[in-house]
Structure formats: C-alpha cells, structure tokens
C-alpha cells in the first residue's frame, strides 16, 4: 500500500480577474467575455485523480506522460543524459489501464511523447526518431501518421484530428492530420519555431505557440487553414522585446496546453498558467508542475510537495 500524500487543498482562491483592459481592447474582446477562475478543493476518490497519483508515486524517477479520460496512464522512465548537450527527452514508456495493470502494447523502445485519444481507445506516440503513430488499445494495431514530427502534438476532442509541428527543428511548420482520411494539411509555411498545440473545445481552431517574428506568442488558426492570428503579445514587436517588453507566458514543452472550461491552461518552467480566449492571464500558480486535465473543468498540479486541483469556473 502506497501512501499518498495527497493534500486536497481547501483553498478557495479568490476569483482571479486580471483587468488587462488594454490587451482586451487590442484583441477586440468585449468586456463581457472576461473570465475568472475559481479554485476548489477536490477529493482523491475522483477516478482520474486517483489513477494519476497512484502511478506517480510508483517511483520518484517515473513521470506521468499522459492520463486518459478513463484513467489509463502512460508512465515514462526518462533516459539519463549527460550535461551540457542538446539531448532529447526520451522515456522508456509503460501503458497501464485504469486499474494499474500493464497494457501489452507495441510501444517503441523509447518515446518522446504520448497522448491518449479523448475516448481512450487509442494512444498516439512519438518515437525517438520523430515518427508519429497511432496504437489502437484494443487491437494493438499501429498506424503510421507522419515523420519528422516535433514533440507537443494535440488531439481534437472528437479524436479525429491531430495537430502537430513538423520539420527540421527549429524550422518547423504546423500541420493538422485527419485520421478519417489519412491526409495532412499544412497550416503555416514560415519555417519558424512552432509547438504546443491545443484544439479549441469545438475543434474548429487550434491554439499553438508560434514565433514568426522572432519571439514566441500564442496564435490561433482554423483547422481549415487561413492566416494565424496572435492571441497574445498583440502589437508587440521584436524591437519592443529587445527593449525589455514583457511577453505573455507560453507552454515550453513540459506539458502541452489544453482548454479547460474556456481557459487555456499550461505549465512552463515558471509555473502553471491559464489564459482567457483573448490572451489574458486569468490563472497563475508560480512554481506549479505536473499539470494535467482531470475532467471537464478540472486541472491537477503539483506545488511545494503537495498535490492540488483547480476547477475552472467561467464567470461571464
């Protein structure tokens, strides 16, 4: 029996409403669309919550790569790397069902990233050679998707589309792949750093980190293509950045961003953040790590040695 040091926080965070009116005006968002986030305590008996921490505690070295909506987990044992090099983060991965039983899947020896489909029927895997493939959990069949894929892909909520970056890093472009037709559509062509994809709740657009002008911002683009539009750092130029202008936080690849009840949540080296659809920071947990979506409107995260969960409540 493992001891869980789950601290169900009873902290009720005050609504974090950042009145970034200037940014709202720049993005053309009506004030009534402002979003606030309430953080509520959650109990460990929540299924996905329990599964997540059960496997997290199995080894200090293990990392939870992804958790499915039903409680499946991919845990990864990161390969050690020497210092001062450009080594890729790779895992020896294991997939487990919601009961903790190991799934006998044809996983590559090492992977860079893995993501369960929303219906938890398949697992999308990026191997160490940048090849992206889909593993059917029932049949264990493998379908190759694309090569030269960059870590940080995302699945649509209906499970039919995959958004990802492809290219010779850092010269990357965004693509969306339709699993029903087996075809990919190129969404950008600037060959610039591109990563951190998240489908919108209606699967009609994709938010991602993009750096067409020499610094990273979050952009959105329709799944059918079109010109990407900046969601953050609107109106800021590279000269402004070099003069010290502050940039809105971005996901840096630790975990892909995800929409939770209208808030784009993600983590980076500074902590966990939530952005409203107009690019304002509406939730901020400095130092937070291991951010996972735990349900329709819940995110889990780890901070100061304790586990927390936040329910994203949209207040119009």
């Amino acid at each position: 029996m493992r001891t869980f040091t789950v601290v169900a926080t009873s902290l009720l965070f005050p609504a974090l409403l950042l009145l970034a009116s200037c940014q709202a005006e720049r993005s053309g968002v009506h004030p009534s669309e402002r979003v606030s986030v309430d953080e509520q305590a959650l109990q460990p008996e929540d299924a996905s919550y329990a599964a997540l921490f059960r496997y997290r505690a199995s080894s200090d070295a293990l990392e939870v790569v992804d958790v499915s909506s039903l409680g499946h987990v991919v845990v990864g044992d990161p390969l050690p790397v020497p210092p001062n090099g450009t080594f890729r983060l790779q895992y020896r991965a294991t997939a487990l069902d919601p009961t903790g039983r190991k799934l006998e899947l044809p996983l590559p020896e090492t992977i860079q990233d893995a993501r369960f489909s929303p219906n938890a029927r398949s697992l999308i895997v990026l191997d160490r050679h940048d090849a992206l493939s889909v593993i059917d959990l029932a049949s264990e069949g493998i379908t190759a998707i694309d090569t030269q894929v960059f870590p940080g892909f995302a699945l649509s909520s209906d499970g039919n589309q995959i958004a990802y970056a492809k290219g010779d890093a850092p010269m990357l472009d965004a693509y969306v792949y339709d699993l029903r037709t087996g075809t990919a559509r190129r969404l950008t062509s600037a060959q610039r750093p591109t990563w951190g994809f998240a489908f919108s709740p209606d699967d009609r657009s994709i938010a991602f980190v993009y750096s067409p002008f020499g610094f990273p911002s979050i952009y959105t683009v329709g799944v059918d293509g079109g010109e990407p539009h900046a969601m953050t750092n609107v109106g800021i130029t590279l000269d402004d950045v070099r003069a010290g202008a502050a940039l809105t936080p971005i996901p840096d690849g630790r975990k892909p961003p995800t929409w939770v009840n209208g808030v784009l949540v993600f983590e980076n080296g500074d902590g966990a953040f939530g952005l409203s659809s107009d690019g304002r920071v509406v939730w901020e947990r400095p130092g937070a790590t291991r951010l996972f979506r735990g349900g329709e409107d819940v995110v889990h995260y780890h901070i100061d040695g304790a586990e927390h969960a936040a329910r994203m409540t949209v207040s119009p």
């Binding site: 020497p82 090099g85 450009t86 010779d168 990357l172 020499g214 590279l238 010290g244």
Partner: protein, 524 residues
C-alpha cells in the same frame, strides 16, 4: 624552375576558369575561448552515434556540434553572411524537454554566400545583437551563450546546413573528405581554428573594372597569387565631378551658376541673380516721364539697371500721368482718380437743332458737371469750337453771338465741385451751307488750355438746307432749361427751344422744324 611551372599551371587554370572563384565557406570557431567539441554530429542514421572520425564523441540523432560554453560566453560569426533568422523570448535555462524555440531556444541563423547556413542555439535571452537581414562579418559578435531551449546545461549547439540538410562540419572517414573549418583541430575534442578564412580573392587573369574619378573607369587584374593587382590609371574622365557646382560673377552685380551632370559634363549657366546694389536704396532716374521717372538701382540680369518704383497704370482723370506716357490725363480717361484733379468736367447732356436753313442761326445747349476738386469761377471756362484749333473757321460760327472767335459760350456763373451748369451756344450757318455741318465743341480754360477729362467735348452735326424764307428764328434749345436734366436723361431727349422773339405757337409748326436731339449721358 619549379616555381615557373607553378606559375604556368596557375595561368593555365586561369584560362580554363577565368571567372570561377567559387569556394566553400570555411569557418572559424564561433567563440574565442579554446574549447573543444563536447558532443559531435551523429553521422549514423540508425541507432547509436558515429562521429566524423567513426568514434563516439556524439549522441544518437545529434544534428549539430555541441561546445560546452559557459553562460554568457560571446558567440561570434564563423564567417561572413546574412542573418536569416533570430529567435528570442526563451528562458536562459530551458531544461531537458523544453520545446522553446523549436528546442533551439534563443538562436541566430546565418546564410553564407556559398549557400551554407549556420545555426547557433541555446543563447542568452536578450543578448542577441544582430537582426534578420543584417550582414555580418567573420568574428562579429552575435550574442551570448546560455542553456535556453532543450538543453541539459550551458553550451553552444553549432549547426551546419548544406543544401537545407544538416551536415557535420568536420572532415573524417565517417563524414566527408573536406571539412568546413579553417582548421578543425585534433580529435577527439577538436578545437577548431579561431582564424577567419583567407580566401582567394579572384581567379588569376580575371579583370575587374570600376568607376573612378569624374565618370572615368579603371581596371585591375587578378594576379597569379589569387589577389587583385593595383588599379590602373583612371581613363576617360569627364570635365567635372557629378553634382559639383561652379559659380561666376555677372557684369555688375549678382552671380550665375552651373551644375555638373551625372555624365560629368557642365550644364548651362543659370540666369544671373543677386541682390540690388546698396541694398536697393540707391536712387536713379529711369528716363521715363511722369511718376515712372523715379527709380532705384537694381541688379537686373547681373547688371546695374534703373528700375521703376512706380509701374504704369491705365490712365485716370486725376492730374497724374498714370500711364507714364508723358501727358497727364491723356486720352480723355473717363474714370476718376483719387484725389480728384483740379479741373474736370463731365458732359451730362446736350441738345441742338438737327437741321437749319442755310444762313440762319439757332442755339444749342449743353450741361457739364464739375467733377474737379475746385469751384469753377464765372468766365473761367469757355466752350470752344475745335475747328479753330486747326486755324479753320467754324461753320457754325455766329459772329454776332459768339463772345470771341472760336468761342461759342463762356461760363457765366460759379459752379462748385459736383455741381452742374448749362451753357447755351449760338450757332449760325452760312448762306452757302448745304448738307451736314459738323463741329466739335470742347471746354477750355481761360488760358486756352483744353480740359482733359472725363468728358469734356461733344460733337454737333446739323443738316442744312436752302430755299425757305422762313427764318430760322434763332432756334434756341437753350430756352429749354427746364427740360435738360442730369437725372432725367430721357425727358431731356425731347429738348425743344425757340428763338428769341419768336412766338411760342411757331414751334407748333412741325414742318418748319426738324429737331434732332443728341444726348450723351455721363458715366455713373
């Protein structure tokens, strides 16, 4: 002997490749510190890694060369080129798995003239000193090293791309026979040379021509040591330097200039121009009459010239020679000036018989308005027949009635400025007169000088006929004082009159009289 052979060999090469100085870029190490390779390029497409020397100083899938530079080390351009991309905004400590900057973190990419590109990853945020599109030279500071993006600690990831694909910059049995460093150092932790490439400037025998001097040309030839010889003398120069300006003085004052064209030829001199002598205060006489006479000395076309102060205007009735014709108020100007002239008269109306029996007399009348500034005194103005000015007798001269020879009437009252006066003028035709008898009457002063303006004369034309014994009856328009008026021109047109001593009923006989009336209206 050996040297001579070499020269011949190079010369032959020059003949074969007269204009092919192409060469692959050679790089210096992109920093000053003597630091060697930590992890090299993986030349093995499969599992594991193979460095350029077929050793293992690399890691699986590594597409560049890692140099373990500490935080803040200056990163330098390995060769000249153009910055094709920069990226900033990534944390200096990205850590393993960071995707910021597409794993590369903050970076600079340079496209070199031979088609190769170099990439410098994991740099310090805010340290990048070059911008996209900027040309950099070998050794130029690009920024500082850090550990941004996907990095397990501070280092510089040096990437080389040839034809768009990554390439190991080192030569070796497991990479390629020719490396990309000026000097690649010693295996296993090679420290490439810090010297910039000294490349062949040109192909022996190649000539180069350039512009020189003032639209001239010069040429130089590439010598056998692949460097350019001295420039030859400048040939075919033009007469001036493009854009230069030459100035010269004009005859008395001012200057004129000319500009050298882009073809190094002088253009035409401009017109002379300069300030007026003595600041435009020197007075002179233009030699012109009237108000145009006073002038100031000006600089006109580079020469002294007396320029008018006053420019001629249309003549007006004002005792001034407005048009500088030499005569005051000439041409009978109708427009009054300001101030008013001393003496001026305007014809208001006139009436006289249109026909007369030859040898009979009659009387006409005329109304003048005093438009001068001075009151007319009695006897001061005469109505003179102008035919007498040519020493001819007036055909309407009434020797008995006219106060003087040629003078039909004399002002008999005082007329203030603005006032009207009627003057009656007797007329008599000779017994031999037949047909139309004409005369022009003009107002003159007592000195015999004709008034000039605005309307000081009128014409009379009388039809004469012979045979009737009916006396003219001294037809006297002048009797009709009350008929002629300045304001009532139309009423005045039917002026009538009768001769002195003739009964009034006589005027009712229409056949005896043909009246002709002429009226001139003054300009308002």
């Amino acid at each position: 002997m050996k040297r001579a052979v070499m020269v011949v060999g190079i010369g032959a090469l020059a003949v074969l490749l007269p204009s092919s100085p192409a060469y692959a870029a050679k790089f210096r190490r992109p920093f000053s510190a003597s630091i060697g390779v930590n992890y090299g390029y993986d030349n093995n497409g499969g599992g594991g890694c193979t460095d350029f020397a077929c050793g293992g100083v690399c890691y699986d899938g590594h597409s560049g060369t890692d140099f373990p530079l500490s935080m803040g080390t200056s990163v330098l351009a390995p060769a000249g080129g153009r910055v094709s991309a920069t990226n900033e905004g990534c944390s200096d400590w990205g850590g393993l798995g960071s995707t910021c900057g597409g794993r590369c973190g903050n970076y600079v990419r340079i496209d070199h003239q031979d088609g190769t590109s170099t990439l410098f990853c994991h740099m310090q945020n805010g340290s990048i000193a070059v911008s996209t599109g900027e040309w950099v030279s070998c050794g130029q500071f690009l920024g500082r090293s850090a550990s941004s993006g996907n990095s397990s600690g501070p280092h510089l990831h040096f990437g080389l791309y040839v034809g768009g694909s990554s390439r190991d910059p080192f030569s070796g049995s497991c990479s390629q026979s020719t490396g990309y460093w000026v000097g690649q150092g010693s295996y296993p932790h090679n420290v490439p040379s810090a010297s910039c490439e000294t490349s062949c400037e040109c192909s022996p025998g190649q000539t180069q021509t350039s512009a020189c001097g003032d639209c001239g040309t010069r040429s130089r030839t590439c010598n056998s040591s692949c460097s350019w010889g001295s420039w030859g003398s400048c040939q075919g120069q033009g007469e001036c330097a493009p854009g230069s300006v030459e100035e010269r003085a004009c005859c008395d004052c001012g200057t004129q200039t000319r500009t050298c064209s882009n073809a190094c030829a002088w253009e035409s001199f401009s017109a002379c121009a300069g300030p007026d002598p003595a600041g435009g205060t020197e007075a002179c006489d233009t030699g012109e009459p009237g108000p145009c006479a006073p002038g100031i000395v000006r600089c006109v076309d580079g020469c002294r010239a007396c320029g008018r102060i006053y420019e001629p205007q249309p003549e007006m009735c004002d005792d001034i020679d407005n048009d500088c014709s030499g005569e005051t108020d000439d041409g009978e100007p109708s427009e009054m000036g300001d101030p008013l002239p001393e003496m001026a008269a305007r014809l208001v109306d006139v009436g006289y018989p249109g026909s007369m029996v030859s040898g009979t007399g009659s009387t006409g009348w005329v109304v003048f308005r005093n438009e001068g500034s001075r009151t007319w005194a009695p006897g001061e103005l005469w109505l003179e027949a102008t035919s007498t000015w040519q020493d001819e007798a007036s055909e309407l001269h009434d020797v008995e009635a006219w106060p003087a020879y040629g003078v039909a009437a004399v002002l008999d009252r005082e007329v203030p400025s603005g006032g009207d006066v009627m003057m009656k003028f007797p007329m008599k035709t000779s017994a031999e007169a037949e047909g139309v008898v004409r005369e022009t009457f003009h107002l003159v002063d007592r000195e015999g000088t004709a008034l000039k303006c605005p309307a000081v004369r009128f014409d009379v034309a009388v039809m004469t006929r012979r045979g009737s014994s009916v006396e003219d009856g001294a037809v006297a328009a002048g009797e009709s004082d009350g008929v002629v008026s300045e304001a009532g021109g139309d009423a005045g047109c039917s002026a009538s009159g009768r001769g002195a001593g003739v009964p009034g009923w006589f005027w009712l006989v229409p056949l005896g009289w043909i009246w002709r009336r002429r009226m001139r209206r003054a300009r308002p």
